[in-house]
Symmetry: C2
Subunit: 440 residues, 2 copies
């Protein structure tokens, strides 16, 4: 990602607010990160796409680290495999169906259990080829009643993963690994969440858990979540699950004794032990040690990339501006830093020099708009660091670097390294915003 | 991309060959890079996906370098904008249409001129906001009669870009830049191609050019191409264009005087000067200097990622094995190198150590299959460098590094750096396969 000049950037901030949805959904429209394409459909602008790419990179890295292999399955599929699995015409009426020009029945895949069985079946012949964990990051389609921006849409980007095993203990192990990988992703991007036992719904299978993020206003599209507020405890229950009545705000957490709280909740990820649900319906078997055939055990896992973007905005921003958390991993903010010149001439030259120094990173140079608009927009976008070249530079030859931990003065040549370290999340661990480079 | 162990890899090589298409299409199935999902639909396996990612990275870098801004438009769209542009129900009967649960007419976008107008219209108000160049790398859908593997499908990944301008000279300049960026991409990945004047077809507009790759067998899905064989000359004509009869094999190139040749040709990219075709139909205007309104000029550009993958395979492989060119940029091969131990024990240990040394790069360690199968598969896949740990190691303590320029012996500790430099394309410029590290 190279440095971006504001004058070149298409970032269509607007006063328009969509009719429905949470404050965060409306704010994503107002900031210009997304634009509506009719009920349940959204386009993502260059700034919004940068957030999506950062989130995608994070989840890809976490999946690769546990041996996940990235594949790509068609989103458009024929009916045959769906009839075999018994999900054709089902899926809670949310499956888009159509015909090709030769009259063959097709659908837009809402999930890919059938696709993965077709990809692997007949090629994975022996128990020695297992376990396998494959994943993709592609569009899914569900004819859902659209509401609340990117959280409930007709087309959305999701990282979905599928594992195949000889037996149930093998499934349990990979299930734990993917569950831990999802925890890492959500911790890294700075999301607060609980892990709740869940209903397997249209995916089916033996057991499943949801990652649910508490939010103050889910825009009418939410479970009610009771969750533990203690650091690192992920206990939670939602009202879709039996027994949620047993817990309420103020109760002690049954896992750690911490305080429970209640709020709206948005599901951002879901992990399923499918068991033999699909291998039985679709007759997917492998040879075992003793030469007999055995139906494989499968797991299914999904983490919504677009959903995560909006849920992060929802948890950390307010109704007037976005705020992207900065962690050890970094930040999902569209730009790690904004360089704002206050004035023209030498001040602008210095700002451009700083921007060039940071040039190979994602830093936004404000070379248009009025000075007031520059500060307002970088605040609205939640850009975590702002480099201000203005009065302090004119008086003392130094620039102000503003982050949530405060403002400090830096020599011009120290800014790029500071921004680099800040973006890598190191800022959190230091007393001073940028450590050794500090002058003030 | 981390190192991969063959025993963990899902790479379903098969004797199955699809009923139709070129040798390359069949070979991509036999090597296990793709798997058929019914007429016109394909899944991509982990090795195939690696090629797609490398090609995508290359085209993204080229677009970013000329100021392209990546966006994401929905693939599923409502009819309204298509009715406005006049393309609803048209598109040579290749547009997939469907209804949502509320009975609203929708389609799967075969291209995104309408989408880009909707993304920008009302947000780009003034000539000062232009020019703009946006692009995406996403699925497109066309209900085409499927044949020839990834070249003609119902769902495919394409990098499509769109530019918007105040006037025609502005369009001409960006058109030239994108055209040059596409040349860079194709040169980098090692494709031979001609640039031919073309019919604008269903995209429409004032003028267009196609990038057409000569291949010996286009699997029945091809234009007939007459092209110049001289180095660096891109002259070509196809039989879809008037005047192609004027040129034949053996004639002198009208541009450079070089030799013309004839062959099948596959279109891998297309650049269009749309002019005001869409801004007139959809009333997309900007304010000009003098306060009046003006319909914008637009350009449209597309480079098929999946198509490029297969066309590369077609041009450089033969009917028995793939071969990915290595250039200054590197190579689109799924793995830059394979490490093949011939034997067990110490030989396997050394192979694993070399694989670990190369570990952060895309190197495949053959830790399963028979020795014969290891060589056969790495050859079939067209992996450009093979590191063999066997007799030479047992006798002299060195390993053999085999590339198309020959075999040389290297000390174990020199292999990782050699593979790194080879993958970066530096090999081409040196006498010896890996330069200073060479012993033999």
């Amino acid at each position: 990602m190279v440095g971006v000049r504001r004058s070149d950037l298409f970032l269509p901030a607007t006063r328009e607010t969509p009719g429905a949805g949470s404050d965060a959904a409306k704010l994503l429209v107002r900031t210009g990160l997304i634009r509506n394409f009719g009920s349940g459909l959204w386009a993502v602008t260059p700034a919004g796409q940068r957030v999506r790419e950062k989130l995608t990179e994070r989840v890809v890295a976490a999946m690769d680290a546990i041996g996940g292999q990235r594949v790509r399955l068609p989103g458009l599929q024929y009916a045959d495999r769906w009839r075999e699995s018994g999900r054709w015409g089902g899926f809670e009426d949310e499956m888009f169906t159509l015909e090709n020009r030769d009259g063959q029945a097709m659908c837009l895949a809402p999930s890919h259990e059938e696709g993965v069985v077709h990809l692997l079946d007949g090629r994975v012949r022996s128990h020695a080829d297992l376990p396998l964990l494959v994943y993709q990051v592609e569009s899914k389609f569900r004819d859902d009643h659209a509401r609340n921006g990117l959280v409930r849409t007709k087309e959305f980007t999701m990282q979905d993963a599928y594992s195949v095993h000889v037996d149930e203990p093998g499934l349990r192990e990979t299930y734990r690994e993917v569950r831990a990988a999802y925890e890492r992703v959500l911790d890294d991007v700075g999301l607060e969440y609980a892990i709740v036992e869940a209903d397997a719904g249209v995916i089916g299978g033996a057991a499943s858990e949801e990652f649910v993020a508490p939010v103050s206003d889910a825009g009418g599209d939410s479970d009610r979540l009771v969750y533990c507020t203690a650091d690192g405890c992920r206990f939670g229950v939602t009202d879709e699950h039996d027994g949620s009545d047993a817990h309420a705000t103020g109760d002690a957490c049954p896992e750690c004794g911490g305080d429970l709280a209640a709020s709206d909740g948005i599901e951002v990820a879901h992990v399923f032990k499918l068991g033999t649900r699909y291998s039985e319906a679709m007759d997917f078997t492998v040879d075992t040690d003793d030469g007999s055939e055995r139906r494989v055990e499968m797991g299914s896992y999904g983490l919504g990339v677009d959903r995560l973007l909006q849920t992060l905005a929802q948890q950390h921003g307010d109704s007037d501006s976005l705020a992207w958390p900065v962690t050890d991993w970094g930040s999902a903010a569209p730009y790690r830093a904004a360089v704002i010149p206050v004035g023209e001439g030498e001040v602008l030259n210095v700002a451009e020099r700083i921007h060039d120094d940071c040039g190979r990173d994602d830093v936004l140079l404000y070379d248009d708009l009025s000075v007031g608009e520059r500060f307002a927009e970088s605040d609205l976008l939640g850009i975590p660091a702002t480099v201000v070249v203005g009065n302090t530079y004119r008086e003392d030859g130094v620039v102000d670097v503003e982050t949530e931990t405060g403002t400090e003065e830096l020599a011009v040549e120290a800014v790029a390294e500071c921004v680099e370290r800040f973006a890598a999340g190191e800022e959190e661990e230091e007393e001073s915003g940028c450590g050794s480079g500090a002058i003030g």
